[in-house]
């Protein structure tokens, strides 16, 4: 899975969680931030994390990833930060297999 592939999956999930209005901010890129650009509510980020966990299962440990940050750090992330973490987790997993 390429970072761009992961990014477009996250974009679809965001539409699912927030609704089509999320697309009003323009194109979702690696630099788009959850708080400043998307104005995502913290409960919406929880719903996004649930969808990602369902998609990637145990290959990506979101609870452990998020436990290392406080809410402001989490909402301050960009889509690229999240995409990079998922890509790195998946690469680690396939190198073990």
């Amino acid at each position: 899975m390429t970072p761009d592939g992961i990014l477009s999956e996250i974009a679809e999930m965001l539409v699912d969680v927030v609704g089509e209005e999320i697309l009003l901010v323009g194109e979702l890129t690696h630099d788009t931030s959850f708080n400043d650009d998307l104005a995502l509510e913290s409960i919406e980020f929880v719903a996004l994390a649930e969808r990602l966990q369902l998609r990637y299962g145990e290959r990506v440990d979101f609870m452990a990833f998020l436990a290392g940050m406080d809410i402001d750090e989490i909402m301050g992330m960009t889509l690229g930060d999240l995409t990079d973490h998922i890509a790195a987790s998946l690469a680690l997993e396939s190198s073990r297999a």
Partner: protein, 254 residues
């Protein structure tokens, strides 16, 4: 799956399995939801091996918003239904923040068979909070309706604020929450004296609820009251690390 049907209502639930004690988190009113625990106490509790349950209360967060059923006994019935739907049949530890603490205390009194312990964070346990809160919410409800706040915020481009205002509007003007809350009976000394499980009560030094903390310590037989210096009502958000350490110590005690 995050969506769970319990007692005929759809709840947004997070269930993290573990071999340790079961810890259930109950959040506060109107703009609060499970995210306030998801980002603070749930992860550390799960890391100790506890089985963790978080859910959005009826009408809150991403749970269903039925028009009725918002008094504290309805909330206890919802809690019992959620635990039942998850197949949890042993006594649980309830962690309640703000109004979530009222639900936790009511559950311990009405269903002592289901509750092993209570951790109450800034809970509205005693005093005239019911009148004050229902007045505050009624004023907010009128304002949201008359000034069409959600619409105006949307026009200003404040989308997050607009969504939050729309949520508050739907809950305060579209359900019986305010009336149900106004009918909540306060906890009296005799009732508090009948709490059988251990209780941890955390309050901010400058909180207007600090008197409730003193009442709990005075009347509940096994109650540890801890006052967090320099803080008011928002201890969970502003003293997360301290609240987390106190909670984990308390859960881990023999």
């Amino acid at each position: 799956m995050p969506d769970l049907l319990a007692g005929g209502t759809r709840f947004h639930v997070q269930h993290i399995k573990g071999d340790g004690p079961t810890v259930v988190f109950l959040h506060g009113l109107v703009l609060d939801n499970l995210s306030s625990f998801y980002y603070t106490l749930a992860g550390p509790a799960a890391a100790t091996g506890a089985e963790v349950v978080l859910y959005d209360l009826r009408g809150h967060g991403r749970s269903e918003r039925p028009p009725t059923g918002y008094d504290v006994r309805d909330a206890v019935a919802d809690l019992v239904a959620v635990l039942g739907a998850l197949g949890i049949d042993r006594p649980v530890h309830l962690v309640g923040n703000s109004y979530g603490g009222v639900i936790a205390l009511r559950a311990a009194l009405d269903r002592p068979d289901l509750v092993a312990g209570l951790a109450l964070i800034e809970a509205h346990a005693t005093g005239d909070w019911i009148d004050r809160m229902s007045d505050t919410l009624a004023v907010a409800a009128l304002g949201l309706e008359h000034d069409r706040v959600p619409e105006q915020l949307r026009r200003l481009g404040a989308r997050k604020e607009a969504r939050m205002a729309a949520t508050a509007d739907a809950l305060l003007n579209g359900t019986t929450l305010i009336d149900d809350l106004a009918a909540t009976p306060p906890f009296g000394p005799a009732e508090l004296a009948s709490v059988r499980c251990p209780v941890l009560a955390l309050y901010g030094e400058h909180s207007e609820l600090a008197g409730a903390g003193r009442d709990l310590g005075l009347h509940i037989p096994d109650c540890t009251v801890h006052v967090l210096p320099g803080l008011a009502h928002t201890v969970l958000r502003e003293a997360t690390a301290e609240v987390r350490d106190l909670l984990l110590d308390w859960l881990g005690r023999p």
